[in-house]
């Protein structure tokens, strides 16, 4: 299959890229192309202009910033994130996630920003970034705005990003406790995934707060609020029990589609299994994140 013809531009600044893409929807930003080119080839979307952002410097940096947050440039490939020393030290679960996205060829060119902007419900990173309480920084013709990862994906294949807003960087607080990610899959995309991030007290014995997100079940990652409530101010050793108490009611609150990945009840059950296994992992890891 061949995409329909398009014009190709290679701006070297964010401002030029934003101007070049325009807001009519017929221009699109392009980086790895692992999602976009597939859709263009299948002719499920159409672009008159592709604006290649790979020549814009600074979009593929990973740093800990001055206020103890981790910044990941949107153009970072999954491969880069999986091997990055900052990510491996502070968020090893994200490094592992990126080492398992799709296959080695996709990881070599596919970017985390492209993954997020595509809004594919069966994707790995959005669930994890929502659990990490990430903010997505968009640069557009009217300046900069930040969107919480929870609010970024509106529905299947649809985000709140305007066509002429470029996702520049993803920012999240350096984790203050164990972070886990688990998924179940048949093919390359997750059928169900669960990400959890705990903030522990100073000696690592108590959970101050927890963020739990379940992805791929509905149109976007969803919080398990009852589980988060049950984990607040609970001893790490009692976390599994606390989750079990709240789990059934919390799972019933989820929006779950039946699709080719499985029926709704089956996938809801899988989410619970993945969460309890994650809890065991987090309890084991509990104190070890304290250095």
């Amino acid at each position: 299959m061949l995409p329909s013809p398009f014009q190709f531009e290679r701006p070297s600044t964010i401002a030029d890229a934003v101007r070049a893409v325009g807001n009519s929807g017929d221009g699109m930003f392009y980086a790895g192309g692992t999602e976009l080119l597939l859709a263009l080839k299948m002719r499920v979307i159409r672009a008159d202009r592709l604006i290649d952002i790979k020549g814009i410097p600074g979009l593929d940096c990973i740093v800990v910033n001055g206020v103890n947050e981790i910044e990941i440039g949107a153009r970072c490939t999954h491969r880069k994130i999986s091997g990055d020393p900052v990510i491996r030290e502070h968020v090893p679960a994200l490094a592992s996630l990126c080492a398992e996205v799709a296959n080695t060829r996709v990881r070599n060119v596919g970017t985390i920003g492209g993954n997020l902007c595509f809004g594919e419900p069966h994707a790995d990173p959005p669930t994890m970034l929502a659990a990490l309480n990430a903010r997505l920084v968009l640069e557009g013709p009217r300046g900069t705005r930040e969107i919480h990862a929870d609010d970024f994906i509106r529905s299947e294949m649809e985000t709140v990003r305007d066509p002429d807003e470029l996702l520049r960087v993803i920012v999240f607080p350096r984790p203050a406790g164990p972070v886990t990610y688990r998924r179940f899959k048949h093919g390359e995309r997750p059928s169900v995934n669960v990400a959890m991030a705990w903030s522990l007290n100073a000696d690592g014995s108590m959970i101050r707060s927890a963020r739990v997100r379940v992805g791929a079940l509905g149109s976007r990652p969803q919080p398990l609020l009852a589980v988060e409530d049950a984990l607040r101010n609970v001893a790490v050793a009692e976390a599994r029990q606390a989750i079990e108490t709240a789990l059934s009611a919390a799972l019933d609150q989820l929006e779950v589609n039946a699709d080719r990945h499985g029926g709704a009840d089956y996938k809801r059950h899988l989410a619970g299994v993945l969460l309890l296994r994650s809890a065991d992992e987090a309890v084991t890891a509990g104190g070890s994140w304290l250095k």
């Binding site: 190709f8 296959n103 080695t104 060829r105 390359e188």
Partner: protein, 159 residues
């Protein structure tokens, strides 16, 4: 009107300059324009690995890469790792261990294994499986492919 861009890149060690439409895919440039038919199109959606080529030494899916994106870069295809006479050690190992039957997926596997052994000369079974997870073979059942790759551990050491 179709936009045409001039690109220049290294293909199997030889510099090539061509004009390509902006929307041309790398696999079509390699197979149809440049006549190298070893790279295979199969799933056409980055899942099967039959179209694998190396871009600056790393495996990519040529079916879902724009030709303009290899400008000033280094592309290696199966023809680039095959000696003028006989077979490369990796190809020979696939033959010795029965790591192929119909052979359609084999160029993609050879390219992926080439990249794997370059960075990981002594891969574990788990590393081999993880790296080749995205290359599909419908003949061998994979066991013989894994045996072929395991037999190659450290073959570059003596070289």
């Amino acid at each position: 009107m179709t936009q045409v861009l001039a690109i220049s890149f290294s293909l199997n060690g030889k510099t090539i300059a061509v004009d390509v439409p902006a929307h041309m895919l790398l696999i079509d440039l390699i197979r149809d324009r440049l006549g190298l038919k070893g790279t295979k199109r199969s799933c056409d959606m980055e899942v099967c690995g039959a179209c694998t080529v190396l871009l600056d030494g790393e495996p990519i899916s040529s079916c879902t890469t724009l030709a303009v994106d290899v400008d000033r870069r280094d592309v290696t295809t199966i023809e680039g790792v095959t000696p003028p006479e006989g077979l490369s050690p990796i190809q020979q190992a696939f033959v010795l261990h029965g790591g192929l039957q119909c052979g359609f997926c084999t160029p993609g596997f050879i390219m992926a294994v080439t990249a794997l052994l370059k960075t990981t000369p002594h891969p574990t079974e788990a590393e081999i499986r993880h790296y080749l997870d995205g290359n599909l073979c419908r003949c061998t059942g994979y066991t013989k492919i894994f045996e072929a790759v395991k037999s190659l551990a450290g073959w570059q050491d003596a070289a």
